[in-house]
Symmetry: C2
Subunit: 148 residues, 2 copies
Amino acid sequence: MKVLTKNTDYAIRALLALAARKGSYLSAKSIATEHDIPYQFLRRLLQEMIRHNLIVSKEGVQGGFMMQKDPDEITVTQLIEIFQGKVQVSECMFRKQICGNRANCVLRHEIMRIESVVQSEFEKVTIGKLLRDLEAANKVNPTAATIS
Amino acid sequence: MKVLTKNTDYAIRALLALAARKGSYLSAKSIATEHDIPYQFLRRLLQEMIRHNLIVSKEGVQGGFMMQKDPDEITVTQLIEIFQGKVQVSECMFRKQICGNRANCVLRHEIMRIESVVQSEFEKVTIGKLLRDLEAANKVNPTAATIS
DNA sequence: TTAATTGATACTAATATAGTATCAGATGAG
DNA sequence: CTCATCTGATACTATATTAGTATCAATTAA
Ligand code: FES
Ligand code: FES
């Protein structure tokens, strides 16, 4: 069971790169080469993040992408929702005719509980927090900590 | 993001059916029709569960499947591992050359923590617990609670 | 003017999930 | 002792998701 797909994985890395240099534009190309992310793939992710107002872009020479939203306000839960759809443990609720009385379904009850646990755990992890941890690690041992 | 696939979903339902009638053999066919699970699909799942010593089978007429392991000892985590592979938040650790120093990778640190939270949450849910909840619900209102 | 860049979108490839089909072998009922 | 009812084993197809590539138009700073 894989929880984070490449989408989310790459998006996190890209956001960390942008958050680290907030205020200046970083091109997709430079992020891609620096973090070993397939260029065109990354561009799609960046565009998606623009649509969700996490970042902004500037076209043309010297253009690129820049942080917009406060990194502390960007949670991994949000990124999962953007790139992998809302966290849901089971799809059973979409099936007709099986759970006539969902409110009383014990399986569903457990499922809902775990769903919210998973969500809240990922909510604790923000881009801002990751960045600070990363910077702290770099301070102690400049060559040890890497983003990816 | 879908956490439980049909594999696991169906396996849970089948185990609940078997646990409810422990001591007697239940055929794949009867489980399939009763719980709306594709017959051949279910058979593969049952065979897999035999290999993992959760259930036993008897061939021939009047044959079928029966609980072997104590339902309280069967956790959803185990079932996820059998049918969806070990819970892992990210696959990054398999990628060479990116995280030269994994021990210090902050992303990995968070990932490991969440992995264990997810695992332990699913570990709390056993077939035995689900069955008791189900039976309790049926006692209160016989028509309200269903397995699926 | 033009090279560097994003916007938009279509396409292919690889993998995972879901479901079906088939046939051999066991076994209890009659 | 045979035969319908089962499981064992395994191969196959279909669908969906994930991953990655390609293309071309529009923008812009040097
Ligand atoms: S070990 Fe995977 S991102 Fe660092
Ligand atoms: S609501 Fe889905 S199993 Fe009951």
